[in-house]
């Protein structure tokens, strides 16, 4: 498979998401940060968290600890409220109770497939298209049920050929 210009609507987002690893890695490079702890609660480091899902990970970065929890987005607000995580990154529509949104950015999701896939020629993918030409099935979060019930219905209806909790870009 290969990425072409037509994929710009969604794949760059996935690539951009992985850049969130960079701030953590660069943490040790900042003077004055060599002692201290930063606990972040995130779903967004797509590649790395694929292997970390559903378990806690504690990484030591040159004296600064980054505490990462599993990527179940619905838990983020509770972790932030309770002090279990200092920072949460998740899909947001409005600030969950007990939290405030520091920043947000448009981050739509899309369908990933081989360039030879029958749906690759479409500008947009409808759920009913997927019913007859099922793409790879990735992960989902409960928030989708509230945002787009049709997505939840579609999700429950498909029998995937591939099931994964990660998309490599």
């Amino acid at each position: 498979m290969r990425l072409n210009a037509a994929a710009s609507a969604c794949c760059p987002r996935a690539n951009d998401a992985s850049r969130f690893r960079a701030p953590a890695i660069e943490l040790d490079e900042q003077k004055g940060e060599r002692t201290g702890t930063c606990r972040s609660s995130r779903w967004i480091a797509v590649r790395r968290l694929a292997a970390e899902r559903r378990r806690r990970v504690r990484r030591r970065i040159s004296g600064g600890d980054v505490h990462t929890a599993g990527n179940v987005a619905v838990r983020r607000p509770a972790q932030g409220r309770g002090g279990e995580a200092d920072i949460g990154i998740c899909f947001v529509t409005r600030a969950p109770a007990g939290t405030e949104i520091v920043a947000s950015a448009a981050f739509p999701i899309g369908v990933v497939m081989a360039t030879s896939h029958p749906l690759a020629g479409r500008a947009q993918i409808r759920y009913e298209d997927c019913a007859v030409s099922v793409p790879a099935r990735a992960w989902t979060w409960p928030i989708y049920d509230k945002l787009a019930p049709a997505f939840a219905d579609f999700w429950d209806s498909i029998e995937p050929r591939i099931s994964s909790n990660a998309i490599r870009c």
Binding site: E33, I89, V102, A105, I109
Partner: protein, 51 residues
């Protein structure tokens, strides 16, 4: 390198999704966390201004 080919969904609600950085309301964040948070915010903003 194997790379995926992507298309957006025909779903206005999904296409309006926003990723957000949230912190506990009223919590005093330590220096390390504030600095890390500043970097995260900059990176997130860069998503909307690529290049």
């Amino acid at each position: 390198m194997v790379r995926p080919f992507g298309r957006p969904l025909d779903d206005p609600a999904i296409n309006k999704l926003r990723a957000g950085i949230v912190v506990g309301r009223g919590r005093a964040l330590p220096f390390v966390v504030r600095t890390f948070l500043d970097r995260l915010v900059r990176k997130l903003k860069e998503l909307e201004t690529p290049g």
